[in-house]
Each structure stands twice: as structure tokens, then as C-alpha cells.
Amino acid sequence: MTIEELILSGVVREFKGAVVDSSTDTSLPLVLLNPKSRTIEVAPSVSVRLIVACTQSSQGGVELFLAENSSVEMVNLYLADSYVNVTVHQSLGSQCKTMTALLSSTNVTYNYLLEGEYCSNAFDGLFMAMGSDHATLNLTTRHLKANCNSNSTVKGVSAGRATGEFHGLVYVAPDAQHTDAQQQNRNIEFDDSHIVALPQLEIYADDVRCSHGSTVGYSDEQAIFYMRQRGLTESYARRLQIEGFVGEVVNRCNMEEICCFVRDIVSQKMSEI
């Protein structure tokens, strides 16, 4: 199955417009395929599921404007080497949920600007760098107004001679009191690959709750031994371990078909380890 086939089979719908409002049919997830430079406005109180898919090597960008109390659930997939910028402006009371998977040599930058109060932002990201890939995930969450919350989890896997990078920044402006921001990053390295993790916090308000954490580790050999002792081959045990590791991100996606699709690609990727 490819994204194009999902469109043809009517599971998702390609979207060419610039505004999502009450007149837009949002019963199916809307797909932005290989977006070059798209700007999309989501009207007040509208809920939409968006899929951004890069299936061809490309440079692109998406800028989303979320009006008051609107809600966007986004799945962003990078299947071909690409260089992409995603910027999301959130107004008062808007909600944005993102699940992203970088499954190629890709450099993606996410910029979330929480420009209104009472916004919520959830981000689950995965990057897998295999062979000679170089995958970079940049994530900036800017809390510009008070009473917003953000929660990000990013997981990285690298193997072969690949390089993975995570640059994370949580910025809290002086006005953004009562911010609740969490950012977690977990990585596993295999073979001669390596992962660079740079999590940062910049806080200029004094009544906030922020935490971040980042780890880079190796495969847990005790767990491999444990699984083999129960009769699993070494390669099966390793696959299961990574599946479990990335599953936490992939399973956050609420769109069933897309979730299956992502899991299949992840499994394929893992067979390269």
C-alpha cells in the first residue's frame, strides 16, 4: 500500500484548497502530498485530520493557521529524502496533535507558535536513520501566551553508518505564565551509527512547569537474552525490542489505516538492522 493507493481507495482524500472551514468535507483525513509551499487556514472551531506525506525527494513547506478553538490532528510522513519546514500558528484554545515519522534521509523542521492562550500541543516524533542516511528532526515549541501546554516525545533509532539528529527547543516567553511544557527524547544506536541530541529550554517566565530529558543508549542485551531464553531467535528479539521502542510513538496515531501503513514501513526499515 502507498499513500497514492490510500487516496485511490477512498480511505483518505487529497486536499488542494487553502481553507478548511465548516463547508469542507472533513469526514476523511485530508492529504497534502509532497507540499511545496502550502498555507492552510483552519477556521474557528473546525476539527480536521491532516496527512502530510513526502513520497518524492523534495523541498517543501507547510504553514498552518489554527483559528480559535480549532483542532488539528496531523500525521506527517517522510518516505523520500526531503527538506521540509512545517510551521503551525495556534490561536486561543486551539489544539494540535502531531505524529511524525522520518523514514529517510530527511531534514524536517517543526515550528509551533502558541500565539493564543489555552492552546494545547502534543507531538510524537520518530526518526529512523539506516545505512548511510542522515535524518534530522528540529522541533521548536514557542509558548508565547499564558496557560498553554505542550507535550513532546521524540524517539530515534540509527543503524549502519547512519547519523540521526534531534534538536529540540522549548521557548517560554515572559508573558507565557502558567505554561506546562514537557519534552522527552529517547534514542537507540546500533552498529557504527550515531545520534546527536540537543534538547534545550529557554524560559523567561517565572511561574511555569517545564521538563525535558534526553537519552542515547544501546540495545538492551539483558532483554535480548531474556527473549531468547523464551525461544525467540536473536533477530526476532531485536526486532521486537525496536518495535516496542518505536511503538510508543507510532501507536499514538489515531487513524487506523495510516497507523498500519506506518507500522509496515517501520517493520521494513527494521529488517535493515
Binding site: 531464553q229 523464551r230 525467540l232 521486537l240
Partner: protein, 250 residues
């Protein structure tokens, strides 16, 4: 079933097992006791094939075959089970899924088709009852967030699912309160059959109130220095190891 002859094993250049001899026959329960650092857990790990240890001499015959050349998973598939002293957490892998895979691998090895979903669920319910394991735990990730007692029960649950020929239980009693101990030990006793055998590694005689051993061995500095019947465990509980160690020195 299991025959260990003059087994020597080291980690790095430190020799831990220094000539173990032990024979376990079908239907028997053996207890291995001994002071800290005597090599009990190492023995269990070496039998299971943990690559941290190097076997430097000796032989282990399991079910008529040389065990030491066999990879870890094949030992398991041949019917050797290790109940871990510290069960490992596997984030993101549910207990039910893990057991489904393990059981399917075992059945494949025996040339059998995997169980159907309903057969599997039935088996899981049946076996989790043996150790009074909360059914909810099987949908959680393997050992993640399990309490100490739940982890140990979970080991016996897996043993019940996989029905090994030889189960080696490495300090299954450590960290258990008295109720959990009884549950775990009763589970082990209920799984006992004439065609399987159990080796229980323990510090305390307390466990042996529930799991009655046919033989009790004392391991000291990498050797079995004394073997006896279950009364030996009682004597050790009362008098400690010193008298044996002194006797061994003389």
C-alpha cells in the same frame, strides 16, 4: 535429563564455577543453596547460555545432547527454562503478544501449527490462574511497572505456558512477601510432573516448605561441597554454612 560434569566457567579472567558435578533426573526437584557469591546464579546463567560467561572446561548433557554448543533460543526450545532473579522489562511489548510469539516459536520447533487466537486466550487464562496473576497484567508491557511479586509470578506464569522439561528457578523467592511466596511455590508444585524436573536456587529454607526438594546441594566457591536430602536445608537454616565450610576446608 541433565548431567553436569566438571563444569568450569569464568567471567573475564575470574573463575566462578570451579568444577560442578550434578545430575538431575526426570521427576526430581533439586534445591541449590549456598552463601552469597558462591556461583549459584552463574550456574543458572551458564546453563541457559548467557554469553557473559565463558565455559572453560567440563560438559553439560541435556536430554542426551551436549548443551554447551547449542544457542540460547534452541536450549529454550529443547525445554530448558530459566526463571530470572531479575526479570527484564521490555517496553512496548505486551505480555500477551510476547507469550504468543514464544509459544508459536516453540510449536514451530515441534512441527506444530500455532494455536488459534481463542485457544491461546483460553490457555492464557488457565495458566495465569495457576499463579493467581491478574489478567490485566498480560495486556501490559512485559514486566514494565510490575511489582516485585508480580514479576516473579509472571516468571512462573511463563513457565506454565511453555511447559519446560527442566525449569531452573533463580532465587524466585527473593523479594517476595509470604503470600506471594506461597502462590509462587504452589504454582511450581502444581506444574510438577513425572516427566519434568525443577532446580530451585534459593537462599532460604522458607521456600522449601512449599517446594519439597528431593535433593539439597550446597554450592561454595564454585563447587558443590555437600549434598543431602531436604533435612539438610533445615540444618542450614538453623546452623548456617560455617560448619560445612569448615568441614570442607579440612
Amino acid at each position: 535429563m541433565l548431567k553436569i560434569e566438571n563444569l568450569h566457567a569464568s567471567v573475564g579472567d575470574k573463575e566462578i564455577l570451579r568444577g560442578i558435578n550434578l545430575e538431575v533426573k526426570a521427576g526430581e526437584v533439586h534445591a541449590i543453596m549456598g552463601p552469597n557469591g558462591s556461583g549459584k546464579s552463574t550456574l543458572a546463567s551458564v546453563l541457559a547460555g548467557n554469553e557473559k560467561f565463558t565455559v572453560t572446561a567440563g560438559e553439560v548433557i541435556f536430554m542426551g545432547e551436549n548443551l554447551l554448543d547449542v544457542p540460547i533460543e534452541e536450549r529454550a526450545l529443547k525445554g530448558l527454562f530459566l526463571g530470572f532473579q531479575y526479570p527484564v522489562e521490555i517496553p512496548g511489548v505486551s505480555m500477551a503478544n510476547f507469550m504468543k510469539i514464544a509459544l508459536a516459536e516453540q510449536r514451530k520447533y515441534k512441527g506444530l501449527e500455532p494455536l488459534t487466537a481463542s485457544e491461546f486466550l483460553k490457555l492464557m487464562r488457565e495458566k495465569s490462574a495457576v499463579v493467581e496473576l491478574d489478567g490485566k497484567l498480560t495486556s501490559r508491557a512485559v514486566n514494565e511497572g510490575f511489582s516485585g511479586g508480580e514479576k516473579k509470578k509472571n516468571e512462573i506464569f511463563q513457565m506454565a505456558m511453555l511447559e519446560p522439561k527442566l525449569a531452573i528457578l533463580d532465587e524466585t523467592d527473593s523479594g517476595l512477601d509470604i503470600d506471594a511466596l506461597r502462590v509462587v511455590a504452589t504454582g511450581v508444585t502444581r506444574l510438577k510432573r513425572p516427566d519434568n524436573a525443577t532446580v530451585v536456587i534459593t537462599h532460604y529454607q522458607r521456600l522449601l516448605d512449599y517446594i519439597v526438594p528431593d535433593y539439597v546441594h550446597v554450592l561454595y566457591k564454585g563447587r558443590i561441597i555437600y549434598s543431602g536430602d531436604k533435612s539438610l536445608a533445615l540444618k542450614l537454616e538453623k546452623e548456617g554454612y560455617d560448619w560445612l565450610i569448615n568441614e570442607y576446608k579440612e
